[in-house]
Structure formats: structure tokens, C-alpha cells
């Protein structure tokens, strides 16, 4: 008969504060680089506006001749969306689970992408100053090299401004469940990704839209396949019982027998460490990643480790460890 102690409330607040600080640390630097690059390129576009032809040349063929045009306004909008909003969304989305071993690389990718877009925008536009007809604009491939160099600097900056995450505290040893001789136990846990359903649904709708009025069959087929594959990742389920670990994602269902499993442990999954979302391969082996959070990881007699992100992974690992011990004795 143990009364619940009050200190749970301050502990929860402290954890929330730590998560906020770590999120800030992961995004502040890269966002600053993205912002600076975007602001610089937009400032130059504004300053040069009166000297630029309207519309501007925005695409060039292999030999450097202009073959695609859009308005000055469209260019600025493009810059904001592709050069700033998208990389910013990328680094923010990847940092929601806080500072983690993949954060520095993510910072580099986001900052590098934003800087590259900004630099190429400036380079492509600079050569059109003083022109009245954008059709005469040229942009040789060699002109892109300074842009790549600037992007490399942007990426490197985005890398170093993200603090090094705390070293992995190491795996906490799994405490096996205490199984009685006459006990039967099964652990079932699942995780759904509502974003996956939305994205999959959008793709399927897009497929219908492509097929029906425009009769673009190839595009529709591609979108449909992509949408259906995405939808199958809507829910991931893990089940542990005396037969082993069963992993179930959409139409894909696989039992890893107890005899093939050597260890089981609960881990804290950051998608950036495992290579993203969905079915991933990384230095951690195979993983089914629905999002950041708890995951159950097993090591096998043959093949790589396997991880699946489901809630209450600690209990699943505890049960699996107990079942493994029972087979040894």
C-alpha cells in the first residue's frame, strides 16, 4: 500500500524544459544560416529589380541558353518556399525529438540546401542585370561552381553550429519479467502514424486526379503505387509471445522465431539516427520507424538487428528477455 508521491509534477516540468532547450539547440544554428542566406538573396533580388528583365530567365539548358522563364515575384516566392521554408521545415521536423546524434548532419543538410538555393538564385539572376530580354541570358555550368562552394560553407556552418549531443548513456540492461511456470503471456503494442495516412491519401487522390481528366496514365500509376505503399505504413504492430517476435506492418507480417533471437532491449529512437521514417537500413540494422520514441530492438543469430517503434517497448523487451532465458534453462 504505497501512496503516490507529489514530486512527479516537478519532474515532468523539468523534462519538458530539457526537451525545449535541446530542440532549440538543434534548430537555432541551422535556421540562422538558412535565414541569412535567404535574406541575402532576397535583398539582392530586391536591389536589382529595376535592372532585371521581366520575366526573368529561371532555367537554362545544357549549353547555358535560357529556356525557362518566370516573373520576378515568382522567383522571390520560390526562394522563400524552396530556399527557406522547406529546409527550415526539414530541420524543425527532424529535431522534434530533441538533440540527437543525427542532428549535426541534419543541420548541415538543411543549411547546405538553403544556402545552395540562395546562391544559385543570386548567380542566375546576377548575369541578367542590364538585360531587356531574358531570352539572351546565359548561364554556363562553370558559373555554378561558386554556388557549390558557398553551399559547402553553408553546410559546414550548419554542422558546427549544432552542439554535440550528450554521449549515449548506453543501453539500460533489460529487467526480465518474472514468469511463473503456469503463466502464459503475450505483449502486443502498435503505433499509428496519422501523417502517413494523410500523405498516402493525398497521393491516391492525386492519382485519381491525374488519371480521370488528364488521362496521364503513367503519372497516375506512379502516384497510386506510391500512395498505396505509403498507406501500408499507417500502422506498425509488434507482438511478443512464446513463438517469438511478430512484426506486422500493413500487408507485411513476419514472425522472428524465439530460436533466432539472441537479445531484446528497449531503445529511444530518433528517426535521423535510423535513416528516416518507414522501413530503414542503417548502422543499427533494419528498422521500422513510425516516428521518434520508444522502440523494441532485437539481435538475431543470423542477420542484422531489427528495431520497431512501438509504445511500451520496455515491457516487450522484458517479456522477450524472460522467454529467452526460459529457453536456455
Amino acid at each position: 500500500m504505497t501512496p503516490q508521491s507529489e514530486p512527479d509534477v516537478p519532474r515532468r516540468d523539468a523534462r519538458r524544459d530539457v526537451r525545449r532547450r535541446r530542440f532549440g539547440a538543434a534548430v537555432a544554428g541551422p535556421l540562422a544560416v538558412i535565414g541569412a542566406a535567404a535574406a541575402t538573396s532576397i535583398a539582392l533580388l530586391v536591389a536589382w529589380r529595376s535592372q532585371l528583365p521581366e520575366p526573368l530567365a529561371t532555367h537554362f539548358d545544357g549549353s547555358g541558353r535560357a529556356d525557362g522563364f518566370s516573373s520576378w515575384t515568382a522567383n522571390v516566392v520560390f526562394m522563400v518556399i524552396l530556399g527557406a521554408a522547406l529546409p527550415a521545415a526539414l530541420v524543425v521536423g527532424a529535431s522534434l525529438s530533441g538533440l540527437n546524434p543525427g542532428s549535426r548532419l541534419m543541420g548541415a543538410v538543411a543549411a547546405g540546401t538553403g544556402t545552395l538555393t540562395a546562391a544559385l538564385m543570386v548567380i542566375a539572376t546576377a548575369g541578367q542585370r542590364g538585360l531587356t530580354d531574358a531570352g539572351t541570358a546565359t548561364l554556363p555550368m562553370s558559373a555554378l561552381l561558386p554556388g557549390l562552394a558557398i553551399a559547402a560553407v553553408g553546410a559546414a556552418t550548419g554542422y558546427v553550429v549544432v552542439p554535440r549531443p550528450e554521449p549515449d548513456p548506453g543501453t539500460v540492461p533489460t529487467i526480465p519479467l518474472d514468469l511463473g511456470a503456469s503463466e502464459r503471456v503475450v505483449w502486443i503494442s502498435h503505433r499509428s502514424g496519422p501523417v502517413v495516412r494523410v500523405v498516402g491519401g493525398v497521393l491516391v487522390v492525386a492519382a485519381v486526379l491525374a488519371a480521370v481528366p488528364g488521362r496521364q496514365v503513367e503519372t497516375a500509376a506512379g502516384l497510386l503505387v506510391g500512395g498505396l505503399i505509403t498507406l501500408t505504413f499507417a500502422t506498425a504492430e509488434a507482438r511478443v509471445d512464446r513463438t517469438g517476435l511478430t512484426v506486422h506492418v500493413g500487408l507485411f507480417k513476419r514472425l522472428i522465431p524465439l530460436e533466432r533471437i539472441t537479445t531484446a532491449r528497449a531503445v529511444d529512437v530518433h528517426p535521423t539516427e535510423y535513416g528516416g521514417w518507414g522501413y530503414r537500413l542503417s548502422r543499427h540494422g533494419q528498422a521500422i520507424v513510425m516516428g521518434a520514441g520508444p522502440g523494441l530492438t532485437i539481435s538475431r543469430t543470423r542477420g542484422t538487428d531489427l528495431t520497431i517503434t512501438v509504445p511500451d517497448a520496455t515491457t516487450g523487451a522484458a517479456l522477450l528477455t524472460a522467454l529467452l532465458q526460459d529457453t536456455v534453462t
Binding site: 500500500m1 504505497t2 501512496p3 503516490q4 511463473g180 503456469s182 503463466e183 502464459r184 503471456v185 503475450v186 505483449w187 502486443i188 503494442s189 502498435h190 507482438r239 509471445d241 512464446r242 513463438t243 511500451d312 515491457t315 517479456l319
Partner: protein, 115 residues
């Protein structure tokens, strides 16, 4: 969610299973809208008769904790015990411990208070 039964216990298997679901709901491990495993899956994993699982689900449905829908399976519809009741329970247990009362005496006090 963990389903744990003891085949040597005096409590019937279906009562044990129903109790597991009630406990999980109380602890917040499952919530309204969650889907329970199919009777077939659960029976197979636990190595028991499917009718035992179906009986447990029937008990929970009669209590209004779950709904059985064709095609969707067993869905949790119940709510855990209200938060302020849980808080009051903890306060009561704290007070009992301070005064050196046993659990039986606490039950007696509740019965007295209810009359």
C-alpha cells in the same frame, strides 16, 4: 499491452483476461478508441481456446468497456476511473498509512461512509 494469465489460478481464465483489460484501462496503457487484439490472435498467442477469449470480451462488452464491431474487432469505449477519484484514493491511503490502518480497515471505513 500485456496479457498475462495463470492457468493454475483458481480464477477462471476469462475473468483473468477481463481483469487484465480493466487494469490496463485504469493505468492508462489503453484508452478509448484503441483496438484490442483479435480473439484468434490472443487465443493463439496464449495457447488457450478461442471461446475463452470471446467470453472475456463478452464480459467486457456487457460492462460497457468495449464494443465488438464486425470487421473492426474489439474497440475500447470505456473511460478509466475519473481523475479526482484516483486522487482521493491516494489521499485516503496516505491517511490510512499515517494512522497505521490496514487495507481491511480502509474498506470498512469506506463501507461505513457509504451508509
Amino acid at each position: 499491452m500485456l496479457f498475462r494469465i495463470d492457468v493454475s489460478s483458481r480464477t477462471t481464465l476469462y475473468d483473468q483476461l477481463a481483469g487484465q483489460v480493466r487494469g490496463a484501462l485504469l493505468r492508462g496503457e489503453i484508452a478509448s478508441g484503441d483496438r484490442l487484439p483479435s480473439a484468434h490472435e490472443l487465443a493463439q498467442s496464449l495457447g488457450i481456446n478461442i471461446h475463452t477469449v470471446l467470453r472475456a470480451y463478452g464480459v467486457l462488452r456487457d460492462e460497457g468497456l468495449i464494443e465488438l464491431r464486425r470487421g473492426r474487432g474489439a474497440i475500447v469505449v470505456g473511460e478509466p476511473v475519473q481523475g479526482d477519484v484516483v486522487t482521493a484514493v491516494h489521499r485516503l491511503l496516505e491517511a490510512a498509512q499515517r494512522n497505521g490502518l490496514s487495507l481491511a480497515q480502509v474498506h470498512h471505513a469506506i463501507d461505513e461512509g457509504a451508509t
